[in-house]
């Protein structure tokens, strides 16, 4: 019994981090319908920013959030404006060019970081990195609990933003139908730029919160990008609540898979779920609710 409870708890906690990674992706995919294969790399850049702030300025990661999120927001805007948006006008046989551009961006980001920081593993060890809260025999890792809480806060904030503010509604309008939105006077061009920036800022939060628990190296991005997709599909593109649910479902499924099937196949569990969702429930969990 203890195994089951501990597994579920671990799964939910890591699900919070996953959800944060997924929220940015779901926004980008929902609005721009592009697969951002550089998502993990953006997170990686944010983690390096956090690392530098901690190592050289002694700034605690939770405060670094205030730096890494805006920094990535700006980076995202830059990338979208100068590299991705122009592709919409280029006439080519395959519409997948935007995706491949993100592959290129991801590669360049990784290599630039590698050039500066080398491939060595870096880590940020704070006083609370290894502390755990105990409920009976079940241990909960403190930074992960905090990350989960922040993930919920950010989701709520984003939800509010999209539903209640004008700008948020413009984003949703552009997501539903870019041409119609333009007719209604929305500058769709700027909305896409803003959205990519927003998505980047969110994944920066995920990275900053992940750093105390994990570690850092230039190639860290790839697997997380894949997880972000799984969550986006699971939850439904563009759905913030879906991202939280998707993250938690993925986290729990991976944990259960690790315990009861095999730790080595843990990632495969997520991928199989991904395929099943793609095939049988293409709209994601979102279609099961009305949000």
């Amino acid at each position: 019994m203890e195994i089951l409870v501990q597994t579920l708890v671990s799964g939910v906690l890591i699900g919070g981090i996953y959800a944060l990674i997924g929220i940015g992706m779901t926004l980008i995919m929902g609005v721009m319908k592009i697969i951002n294969l550089a998502h993990g790399q953006l997170m990686m850049v944010a983690m390096y920013i956090t690392f530098v702030l901690f190592e050289y300025f002694g700034l605690d990661p939770y405060f670094s959030l205030l730096v890494s999120m805006p920094a990535l927001f700006l980076l995202g805007i830059f990338l979208q404006k100068y590299l991705l948006n122009p592709l919409l006008k280029v006439d080519s046989i395959l519409p997948e060019n935007q995706v491949l551009m993100t592959v290129g961006i991801g590669m360049v980001l990784t290599e630039i970081i590698r050039f500066i920081f080398r491939s060595d593993y870096r880590s940020v060890k704070t006083a609370y990195s290894a502390t755990a809260l105990y409920i009976g025999p079940i241990s909960l890792n403190f930074p992960m609990v905090v990350a989960f809480g922040i993930a919920l806060l950010l989701t709520a904030a984003l939800f509010f933003f999209l539903l209640k503010t004008d700008l948020g509604k413009s984003v949703r309008a552009t997501a539903q139908n870019a041409d119609a939105a333009m007719i209604m006077g929305i500058n769709a061009h700027w909305i896409t730029v803003l959205t990519y920036g927003l998505g980047s800022g969110l994944v920066a939060a995920a990275g900053t919160l992940l750093l105390p628990i994990y570690y850092l190296f230039p190639d860290i991005g790839g697997p997380f990008t894949l997880k972000a997709f799984v969550i986006t599909m699971l939850g439904g593109m563009g759905s913030t609540i879906g991202a939280i649910l998707g993250g938690v479902v993925l986290g729990v499924a991976e944990s259960l898979g690790a315990t009861y099937i095999s730790m080595a196949l843990k990632d495969a569990v997520g991928l199989v779920i991904f395929l099943l969702v793609l095939i049988f429930l293409p709209g994601g969990l979102k279609t099961l609710t009305k949000v």
């Binding site: 319908k33 697969i35 590299l83 997948e96 360049v108 990784t110 599909m233």
Partner: protein, 320 residues
């Protein structure tokens, strides 16, 4: 771009004579790897460039072909050369299965699904140690000490592949593929069974990629799941070969294959020793920049946007 008969002959003669002209095992090796990528790139291009189904998981077929050849040795006790015959068909079967699962998905969703399946294959290959030897991999002894047999086999396979794809593209099937690429629903309404033709395209594509995998097993003599089911080094490389060369063209992928392989080696060896070490350390960076540049300005690849490149050249000349 229809190619002049004499140019074609020149190319063929060059490839046949190359190992004699340049008796260096080092360059022969690079050519062999490039020829292998001609196979992989062209087959990917058939599915993606001509039929519009962008696969991010071609490593599935490459790995299947490679393991088919490898398993011939470890499980059946026969020579890995049987893999050359079996690799293609086995990969085709896998392709059929993948198609059945994934073809109900369109565009980017299909791409994502292929990534997922590719990763699943890699993880299973690592974990199913009793079948695949896991990460210890499969090691055989190369049959020939000289590179020549492998080189000429590579040339033959590449030529066969290009010939086959050429015939397919300029046949009725080819038109159906392009129709599906341009507008699947319109094609369906014209009576073209999207599922059947996408599957056919995938079968041919996976056949040749599997063949390349079996060739790799025989030539490199060592494979493991990380090498042959690799997302970045195989699947994404296949896409880059196609994109840089030119999707939707026959000659694009071969050109792309040679550009990519040579570029990689040029950088890795710091321009063959001319430049200092840090140049070799930035070869992936150079790749990434190249990708960004090509997609931004030459979206149809070197061959596809050849008119654009020529215009650039001639316009300059007009002023000099």
């Amino acid at each position: 771009m229809r190619i002049n008969r004499w140019v074609l002959l020149g190319i063929v003669l060059f490839f046949l004579a190359f190992p004699v002209l340049v008796p260096s095992d080092y360059y022969r090796h690079i050519f062999i790897i490039a020829l292998m990528w001609v196979l992989i790139g062209s087959s990917w291009n058939l599915l993606a460039g001509f039929t519009g189904q962008v696969s991010f998981g071609h490593a599935i077929f490459f790995g299947t072909g490679a393991y088919t050849a490898g398993l011939c040795v470890t499980k059946l006790g026969i020579s890995a050369w049987w893999g050359i015959l079996l690799g293609g068909p086995v990969s085709t079967l896998v392709g059929l299965f993948i198609g059945w699962v994934c073809f109900r998905l369109r565009g980017p969703y299909f791409a994502l699904a292929t990534i997922a399946v590719g990763e699943i294959f890699r993880l299973v290959a690592i974990d199913w140690r009793s079948f695949t030897e896991g990460m210890e991999g499969i090691l055989i002894i190369q049959t020939f000490r000289s590179k020549l047999p492998y080189y000429y086999l590579g040339v033959a396979l590449a030529a066969l592949c290009m010939f086959a794809i050429h015939r397919v593209v300029y046949s009725k099937w080819g038109y159906y593929f392009v129709a599906i690429r341009e507008d699947q629903d319109a094609a369906e309404s014209m009576g073209i069974s999207a599922f059947r033709y996408k599957s056919l395209s995938l079968m041919i594509s996976s056949f040749f990629t599997g063949l390349a995998g079996a060739f790799y097993m025989n030539y490199m003599a060592f494979i493991d799941p990380h090498v042959v089911f690799n997302l970045h080094d195989i699947s994404i490389m296949a896409i880059l070969v196609g994109i840089i060369g030119g999707v939707g063209t026959i000659w694009g992928p071969p050109v792309g294959a040679f550009i990519m392989v040579f570029l990689q080696e040029t950088f890795r060896s710091s321009f063959f020793g001319l430049f200092p070490r840090w140049v070799s350390e930035s070869h992936v960076l150079a790749f990434g920049l190249l990708v960004i540049f090509v997609i931004r300005y030459l979206a149809n690849g070197v061959i596809g946007d050849w008119p654009k490149i020529r215009r650039l050249w001639t316009r300059e000349k007009a002023y000099s």
